[in-house]
Amino acid sequence: MFLEIKDLCVDLGQFKLENINLSIEKGEYLILIGPTGSGKSVLLETIIGFYKENSGEILLNGEKINNILPENRHIGIVYQDHVLFPNMNVYENIIYGLKRNKELSEQEMDEKVKEIAKILEIDHILTRDVTTLSGGESQRTALARSLIVEPDLVLMDEPFSALDVSTQNKLISIIKKIGKEKNTTFLHVTHNFNDIWNLADKVGVMKNGSLHQIGSVFNVFSKPANDFVADFVGIQNVFEGKIKKNNQNHLVNVNINDNITLVSSDVEVCSHLEDYTNVLVTIRPENIIFSNESMNSSAKNILKGTVIDVTYSGPIMGITVDVDGIVFKGLLTRSSFQSLDIQVDKDIYIIIKSLNVHIMDRYSSFKLEKS
């Protein structure tokens, strides 16, 4: 294990972190989610060394770091609001951490700054005053500042939440690339499930200072450990599968098991993946269409299954359908529910457009290397 936290307790008076246990392997990407005030930021700041734990151990690379000063832990941190030093310009912010390394010459440092600035696409604003930067530029600068020293572990506290969606996506792909190249380990706090789909190998769910569940994305979303986790992650259809590209019609087939193959139009995501790579597939419950007949439709996925559960929550019904051992969850309005005459144990068709079958690649590549 690369980072291992054992029975960690932190008492801040008004708030306590209780019995946190988690572990991350080298190069893995852990995302922490949980309601506001659940202690995610406090946990990050304890790992980095700014809150003192009352009991428990933090091990990095097998070494206990509880009593190691923050400056000697080699852990980087990136905040939502960037926290760039306002007394330094972009270049000075980025080079700050390098300057401590007396072995590097001025020129080597300069080259490193230029290199990381290029990757993060901020090489044109290096001389800018940080107070004049846009949100995206600031966050890229903050990322550059913490990544340039090649920390063993990078902690990110809601790094993208103040950014627009397209900037988020850009930064996500940059982070992915850097993570892969340098085999960096990340611990990332977010409120946005998209970050999970795009980046996470593992997910942890926190509430009231404790970690309610931690595991693979698939496990947490498909087998929530308790009611709170189930409620918090919401209903999600998350499956593991193997891809098989179909270049003629720009679609990708994903084998979920021997009998079920879903068709997805997420060709782009799979462009760099070999056939038969493991991937994670998600389908939002509202994108599942129910029907009593196998309609002739443009949708690529038409599956026959059996209704195994029906739940009521106000005007919306939750329908659980078993298709050859794979469980799909969908939503229906009460009136559609009645007109379709849905009952437990009755057969039903579910229809999903290929557009709505989303493929997460990152998960796969890591799982494969390890297994």
Binding site: E45, I48, G49, F50, L69, P70, E71, N72, R73, H74, I75, G76, I77, Y79, V83, F85, P86, N87, Y96, G97, R100, N101, R145, S146, V149, P151
Partner: protein, 260 residues
Amino acid sequence: MRSKFEWLFIIITSVITILFFIVIGNMFLIPTYEGFIKALFSQQMIFAIGLTLSTSVVSAILVILCCIPMAYTLSRYEFRLKWLFKIILDLPMAFPEIVIGIALLMFLGNYGISRWLGFFGVNLVFNSAAIVIAQFFVALPYAIKMLYSTFNYVDSRYEFVSRSLGYSESDTFFNVTLPLAKQGLFATSIITLARCIGTFAAVLFVGGGILMKTETLSIAMYLNLSTGDIDMAITAGILLVIISFVTIAVMEKYVKEQYV
């Protein structure tokens, strides 16, 4: 269109500000021009200006050097009896300066440590050193208060980031914390200097108010008032007003409102 409410508040503000201006400005009209020039260039006045500025600069430097670690400690660290420390340090702001003056005189003089000091040939009452001590004690609590809120205002996450990048606590303090507290530190220095220049009662007691020896501007004003030399007294007063005006103007110009 201003509302009645707005008008009322603006009028209250204007009337009282103008009142202040008249009270202070009136002082400038009392001495004749010749009287003012004569007083200004008198030996006594030149001595008082020199003594005031030199002692104040020394005390202000001492105050700043002490209040940086003190304000930082109060702002960042938790320790037992911290609440009591804060009360003790705030206390001198709540009671009249004259109390500090008497307390210091007792402590430094015959009722206190003067015998031990005398043993080493040191005397800390009725001389310039005494003035510096008096100014120091009067100005320090204000300086700590100001700098304390400045440090509170510096987000400690800047320090976290710096340390996570490998810098020690002290490197971080000099690279990040102090530069970020620059405005507040500057404001504190200016206010401290003004406070030291204007100290009266404490300086009178500990310094003794001796003509041409421990005679600062405010003491000069007092001594001349009691001997009836109005021109000298008012000139010293005018100088104090001018010095205050300049310090405040400098601060207004260079320090953003949030830091004061």
